[in-house]
């Protein structure tokens, strides 16, 4: 049963494979933006609404036809709605339902209304985790996106030698599953038998232990950056490819230098790609789970069971038998993530 509970979290886990694809298609990002603005002016929409308001009181025949049309419509939409309801809405509904109860070892299950929410909002362990991923977000995401942008601009500049090799090798870590990546890095971080230990031995120095409590968040940030720079680079590069080359020529004729081209043409042109990458990264940060969960085996005292909100819900539910409270924490976290991602989207899109 608790597996169901985790579905909403897992479906969104970091940047899952299917989502990014459409952003890689040329023109797709600008179109996304225009669509939301021109919705009201959409001719098809206007046609529909005129018909709805101008239609005379429906005669039996017309009503029958309408109902038939509706049925046909449902025939098309039905399979999607069924799957959507089953794998998307049902788990959320079930998590909401679970969050209203309390199951105790003594006394069994009882309805507690919104008590769990009150508890979550005042739970220091939850806020500690949230603060930690917040800090992670503020530092790791700008670094990762900055590096990705730099690489994308370098590749796009056309001045890079071995461009394809460079592009592929930077993207390659994204193809490594997060669990494997964490294991690889976990071995390298080892101060005894790992790379850090070897470096220490070879040069007779003593590097600080990356898995100590004060450094472990940075160590995780390093893994996540390694994993996702290539992915974000590809988003930016795809957006840059769409910019018409003639603009650069015009800029060159006007005497603009390379830096001016970057700030005045390239960056504004890929603005929506930047916003989307940021939103994905925010969601990814808030859902940090794989990396700390794997490294926990190596650094059990540095990575606590409430290190990130997701890890906290996991341990609440799987070792604490507190499915109801875990569902509550997951929902609160989901809502917070949605609010912050939405705020960033509004802000990012407005100035464009």
């Amino acid at each position: 049963m608790p597996h169901v509970l985790f579905t909403p979290v897992l479906t969104l886990t970091t940047v899952s494979a299917p989502t990014p694809l459409h952003t890689l298609l040329p023109h797709s990002t600008p179109r996304l933006r225009t669509r939301s603005v021109t919705d009201a002016r959409n001719p098809a929409m206007t046609l529909l609404s005129t018909r709805a308001t101008a239609a005379p009181p429906p005669r039996p025949r017309a009503r029958f036809r309408l109902r038939k049309e509706a049925l046909v419509g449902w025939g098309f939409a039905g399979p999607f709605v069924a799957v959507f309801g089953l794998v998307f809405l049902a788990p959320i509904g079930y998590a909401l339902y679970l969050s209203l109860f309390q199951d105790r070892l003594i006394g069994g299950t009882s309805f507690v209304g919104l008590d769990n929410y009150g508890k979550a909002l005042t739970d220091p362990r939850f806020w500690e985790g949230l603060t930690r991923v917040g800090l992670f977000l503020l530092i790791q995401v700008p670094v990762m996106l900055g590096v990705a942008l730099l690489v994308a601009l370098a590749i796009d500049s056309g001045r890079l030698y071995g461009r394809t090799f460079f592009r592929v090798s930077i993207f390659l870590p994204y193809a490594v599953p997060a669990v494997v990546a964490s294991l690889i890095w976990g071995f390298m971080y080892g101060t005894r038998f790992g790379l850090v230990g070897n470096v220490n031995d070879a040069f007779g120095i003593s590097l600080p232990d990356p898995l100590s409590p004060s450094l472990v968040l940075a160590a995780i940030g390093n893994i996540v950056t390694w994993e996702f720079v290539g992915y974000n680079m590809l988003i930016f590069y795809a957006a840059l490819k769409v910019v018409p080359r003639s603009l650069y020529e015009a800029a060159a004729i006007d005497g603009a230098g390379e830096w001016r081209v970057v700030t005045s043409i390239k960056l504004p042109a890929i603005r929506s790609a930047l916003v989307i990458a940021t939103i994905f990264s925010i969601i990814g940060s808030f859902q940090l789970f794989n990396e700390p969960s794997i490294l926990q085996k190596l650094a059990p005292n540095a990575i606590t069971s409430d290190f990130t909100p997701n890890l906290y819900t996991y341990s609440l539910s799987f070792s604490g038998q507190q499915h109801n409270y875990a569902a509550t924490v997951a929902i609160v976290m989901g809502v917070l993530t949605a609010i912050i991602a939405y705020a960033v989207q509004l802000r990012g899109m407005r100035k464009g």
Partner: protein, 445 residues
């Protein structure tokens, strides 16, 4: 148009939620029948035959299952590895809550059994006649599975603690094998001084090891009486443990390597981890996991808190329990009985398990077994002696699985920060009190 869609979506959501509600409602009311069948029914059930599903990760059960099927051809035993330790308990708890899919027999470690007995989710085997085995098993394991007249599981193996040490390393540096924990600290200093790469042992905070050593030192931090629970890490036994262990941590004499990690196995093999204080089930792990150090290691009695004592403690070990949700309880009991007593138990001991049965512990063949890994030492004699001297009256929390899962959040701080072990244990105690009260127990009130 838009509101229309929203309304429809909300409608769909409502329908789906309702479905989810009904589904859970159906799931939770699977009732269990009473378990008042005597030994007679067991014989009849064996006659009739059927299928027994066993959830266990203990490798020696495979042979037992085959033997059982041979003896009772109409019974079909299905052995399932549903995960090790808490993974299996989670699956078990879920199956019990769901009312379907629970096994007929489940392996449960002693420290975790309380979680299932308190929820009354395992059968009281006394009604099948299990009380008669009171003297069959050694006292530690038997105490762990019984409560007053009730028998909630039958002991499958045990883990009386012993001291495993790398003789080659000790000899090389001319260090005496410690018999008390004070000598142990001295040996730790001497070894580390002789070769800074050598540590007396590894420790990154392990709830099982810590509670076992407190147990040996005479501490009894947990008391459970029904739903009244007391947690107190301030007693004298606990203080003895923290005083000694704090020295090891302060002087960085224990290696910051987690047990069962790659680095741990490497350290045990190359001599940089010189000793282990661990359960008697360890030899099989050494033989397979640290094969290259064969001949280097020896076994000695656990160092003592007071010179001349012989006190020991249990570390690990598990039992077989019959969930209330089992479909075929009589057959389940028959299998449990077969696997834990008599010929079944002996067969498992032959296959490498450490016995919880007195007869096997005292058998000459068992005691005389020479371990080539330990240079021909008859290590079982030390283990058997330890089993006889396990401190009495220890009990775990009814929610020890959860408590252990947050051990490193609290006590773990003592390993990586200036927090002391005493403070760490105090925080662990507080977290345990909060959780227990939340769960409906009356803790420290």
């Amino acid at each position: 148009m838009r509101t229309h869609i929203t309304r429809r979506l909300l409608g769909a959501l409502a329908v789906v939620s309702t479905l989810a509600l009904t589904a859970t409602a159906c799931g939770s009311d699977a009732s269990d029948g009473g378990g008042d069948s005597g030994p007679k029914d067991v014989a009849a059930a064996l006659e009739k035959g059927g299928k027994v599903t066993v959830w266990a990760w203990e490798p020696t059960l495979k042979k037992v299952a085959e033997d059982f099927e041979k003896k009772y051809p109409k019974v079909d035993v299905e052995l399932v590895n549903a995960g090790t330790g808490d993974k299996q308990y989670t699956a078990l708890q879920n199956a019990m809550a769901a009312g379907s899919g629970a096994p007929d027999v489940a392996q449960v470690e002693y420290y975790a059994l309380g979680q299932f007995t308190i929820g009354k989710s395992v059968e009281d085997l006394a009604s099948y006649g299990a009380q008669k085995y009171g003297t069959t098993f050694t006292s530690g394991p038997w105490n762990a599975v019984t409560e007053d007249k009730a028998v909630y599981a039958l002991p499958m193996d045990s883990g009386p603690m012993a001291f495993f040490y790398n003789k080659k390393v000790f000899d090389k540096h001319g260090i005496k094998v410690p018999t008390t924990w004070d000598e142990y600290v001295e040996a730790a200093r001497a070894l580390h001084k002789a070769d800074p790469k050598i540590f007396i042992t590894n420790d990154t905070g392990d709830a099982g090891a810590t509670t076992s050593l407190i147990w040996q030192a005479g501490g009894r931090p947990y008391r459970t009486d029904g739903t009244d629970v007391t947690i107190d890490f301030g007693d004298e036994g606990t203080r003895k443990y923290t005083a000694t262990w704090q020295k090891l941590l302060d002087e960085k004499l224990v290696a910051p390597i987690s047990s069962w990690s790659d680095a741990w196995y490497k350290g045990l093999a190359d001599g940089s981890l010189a000793t282990l204080s661990i359960g008697a089930w360890m030899p099989a792990n050494l033989t397979s996991g640290v094969a290259s150090a064969s001949g280097d290691w020896r076994v000695a009695p656990l160092p003592q808190w007071t010179k001349g004592d012989k006190t020991s403690a249990e570390n690990g070990g598990s039992s077989l329990a019959v969930p209330k949700a089992a479909k075929n309880k009589e057959l389940a009991y028959a299998f449990t009985e077969f696997a834990t007593t008599g010929a079944g138990a002996s067969a498992r001991v032959t296959a490498g398990a450490f016995p919880a049965t007195r007869a096997d512990l005292e058998s000459k063949a068992f005691l005389d077994t020479a371990f080539p890994y330990f240079g021909g030492q008859q290590a079982n004699r030390i283990f058997a002696e330890s089993a006889r001297n396990v401190g009495e009256d220890w009990s775990y929390l009814p929610y020890q699985v959860y408590a252990n899962s947050i051990f490193n959040d609290t006590v773990g701080k003592a390993y990586v920060s200036p927090t002391t072990l005493t403070d760490g244990l105090k925080q662990w105690q507080e977290a345990g009190v909060t959780y227990g009260n939340d769960q409906g127990f009356t803790v420290n009130k």
